[in-house]
């Protein structure tokens, strides 16, 4: 009998092109996703060296980071953003790469559109010059972010030189309580293991609470693996995965055979992980970050912690600085923190199910007069379905600003930027200093928690509303 293998080991072994003792391995890449911000220098490198793209049919491009989320018919004002978008179009044309540009009905955040199109499949290696590539691990793919030199390397060779990561099992047993969303699961995990707890590892999320998640919720969990410092995060494919992929634009032609192969991917019983941790889902509550990294997170019914709560010197220093930046006092109840902005969007939480839950929650109510609340669908496809279902109407009537798809205020590289001192409840993935604008303060939460904050003007424990799905 063969030695039992984990999901990660199976995919890794199937992609080793070459390995030699004491050296990193050369592994093959099945899907390469690119966008306008981290690819221009890679194409420039190819040109300078007179190289070509080895398998242009395995690379897919879109524009998301820099794009305005206002009316697409308007000209783009920011000339430098425009230059990056033009460079991407030009590079895709020259090198024969498929591009879903601003006018495409498939445009959207790269990590939202690739699964939508059926480009993300179980068992594949997927890379992108963006750290949240870990999202695609939700399908049982090995997916990780790379730098621009590596983008160039994949373009030229379809391979990557990689040190084999370790494998870390995160087992979430039991059922999630009502009001605890996928976002709360992953925020709790990061709070537990820390922002470098997953360093050097590929996380596998398993257990009942994970199996119970929809595909979109699994993407939310895997998306933030990188915030735990992990190389990648993944979840074993199952019938939900297969069902999700069926009939998508790029789904395999020989679907049944492919599905048979995918069913063999989950970790074998008795497979060994380098590390593991168990968390009981029943103990979890909705989460709100209070600091300036995603690990600085606490339950909504708690109070802002004090630096002295931390035994580790670095954590203490970090907490002190974070509280100062965030303008918060320890001991303040989280629910009393007032926000003036709400952002619902990003590759973490901008899919149709997120928007449906938000619409269900805010239906017939009004956004607080003190709050500017914005909803940015993850893709044109999400936007279209939302409009067909009347979600846009419910949101607009409640007072939300309904936008075109893109990264938007997740990193505020386009015109959607906060002012110094602004406080925002955001469904994105990073609350770093200045992430949503210099001096702006970000609290990461789930979509329904963000919606509730928009209505009330401060954080609320949605479990008390009697209204959560």
């Amino acid at each position: 009998m063969n030695t039992p293998k984990t999901l990660f080991q199976k995919i890794w072994d199937a992609h080793v092109v070459h390995e030699a003792p004491g050296k990193p391995s050369l592994i093959y890449i099945d899907r390469h996703l690119i966008h306008e911000v981290t690819s221009p220098q890679a194409f420039e490198g190819l040109r300078l060296a007179g190289r070509t793209v080895r398998r242009p049919e395995l690379t897919f491009a879109t524009m998301d980071h820099n794009v305005p989320t206002t009316d697409r018919a308007l000209p783009i004002k920011d000339q430098t953003s425009l230059r990056q978008m033009e460079a991407l179009s030009e590079n895709c044309r020259t090198f024969g790469v498929t591009l879903f540009d601003l006018d495409s009905p498939h445009q959207g955040i790269i990590h939202v559109i690739s699964p939508e199109l059926g480009l993300t499949l179980p068992g594949l290696t997927v890379v992108c010059g963006d750290s949240h590539t870990s999202t695609h691990g939700a399908f049982g793919a090995l997916a990780f972010g790379i730098g621009t030199s590596e983008v160039e390397h994949v373009l030229a060779t379809q391979c990557l030189i990689q040190e084999k990561p370790k494998n870390f099992l995160i087992d979430i047993e039991g059922k999630r309580p009502q009001g605890v969303e996928a976002k709360d699961l992953i925020l709790s995990i990061i709070g537990r293991i820390g922002t470098s707890g997953g360093a050097g590892s590929v996380l596998e999320f398993a257990g009942e609470a994970i199996r119970d998640l929809s595909m979109e919720e699994r993407m939310t969990v895997c998306n933030m693996s990188i915030e735990a410092g992990a190389r990648a995060g993944m979840i074993a494919p199952d019938e939900k995965t297969i069902e999700y992929i069926k009939n998508r634009m790029y789904a395999p032609v020989d679907f049944e055979n492919a599905a048979e192969a995918w069913r063999k991917l989950p970790s074998d019983p008795g497979a060994v992980f380098d590390q593991s941790v168990q968390i009981s889902a029943a103990t979890l509550a909705p989460q709100v970050t209070w600091g300036t990294n995603p690990g600085q997170v606490i339950s909504v019914d708690a109070t802002v912690p004090s630096p002295t709560d931390f035994s580790d010197e670095n954590d203490r220093k970090s907490a002190e600085r974070a509280l100062e930046y965030m303008g918060l006092k320890s001991g303040t109840p989280i629910e009393s923190i007032e926000v003036d902005h709400v952002f619902i969007g990003s590759c973490t939480n901008s899919r149709i199910e997120d928007l449906r839950r938000v619409a269900h929650f805010v239906n017939g109510k009004k956004v607080s007069a003190k709050v500017h609340a914005m909803v940015v669908p993850g893709s044109q496809a999400v936007k279209k379905v939302a409009e067909e279902e009347g979600i846009d109407r419910i949101l607009k009537e409640a007072g939300f600003d309904w936008r075109e798809s893109g990264c938007s205020m997740c990193l505020a590289m386009n015109p959607d930027v906060l002012q110094p001192g602004d406080r925002c409840a955001s469904t994105s993935n990073r609350n770093f200093e200045g992430r949503q604008g210099a001096g702006a303060r970000t609290h990461l939460v789930s979509p329904v928690m963000a919606a509730a904050a928009a209505l009330e003007g401060h954080f609320v424990d949605i479990r008390q509303s009697g209204q959560v799905l």
């Binding site: 092109v17 730098g147 492919a258 670095n314 600085r321 590289m413 200045g434």
Partner: protein
């Protein structure tokens, strides 16, 4: 890529853990389509005040640290995004070596690809260096990648351990792509084998 063998230079302190890539190079400066010219934006929100003047509160701005080529900092440096603009900005500013107790994975890799040497020392060793720098601002270190040693003129010595593949690459200024392309036959074999799998996943 510029090879890295030995470098001697002023050490600048950045006494913060978890310095993320958004701080190293804020996103509003990611819009260039070249690899150069990012140094002026390094640590932008910390280095400059609102009206664009150097911020006196930011330690690295002090006169003795001008022209520094070695940065010492705290744990988990470079966490966050995969943006290679972070090492480009550090390099363009003049840093060739970064010393910290730990680094974020992608950032660590990105450094080697751009001629920067990231060095992991223990918390205690990093503490020692911070003390030295503060006692004598302008303090210099020599980083010798060939010997895998760091030393100062006043007799401090640290042994460092750099993964051998990356070390060779940096010492010789090797281009990873050329290294991989030399394995063309293996890549082709892999592709042929993959095509023969009964259920092509592609």
């Amino acid at each position: 890529m510029e090879p890295f063998k030995v470098t001697k230079g002023i050490v600048a302190p950045l006494d913060l853990p978890n310095v993320d890539t958004d701080q190293i190079i804020p996103k509003q400066f990611l819009k260039r389509i070249e690899r150069t010219g990012f140094g002026q934006f390094l640590f932008f929100d910390w280095r400059f005040t609102k009206d664009g003047q150097p911020d006196k509160k930011f330690e690295m701005n002090a006169a003795p640290y001008q022209g520094a080529s070695i940065l010492i900092t705290r744990a988990n440096f470079g966490c966050g995004s995969s943006r290679e603009h972070a090492p480009w900005a550090l390099m363009d500013y003049g840093f060739r070596c970064i010393i910290a107790p730990s680094f974020a994975d992608i950032f660590y890799n990105n450094c080697f690809k751009n001629g920067i040497l990231p060095v992991r020392l223990s918390e205690a060793e990093v503490d020692t260096l911070f003390k030295e720098v503060r006692q004598a601002p302008g303090f210099k270190l020599t980083v010798d990648l060939e010997q895998e040693k760091i030393f100062s003129d006043n007799g401090l010595t640290f042994t460092i351990k750099i993964p051998s593949f990356q070390r060779t690459g940096l010492l010789n200024g090797l281009d990873d792509i050329a290294v991989t392309l030399a394995q063309e036959d293996k890549i082709r074999d892999f592709e042929l084998k993959q095509l023969k799998v009964p259920t092509p996943l592609l």
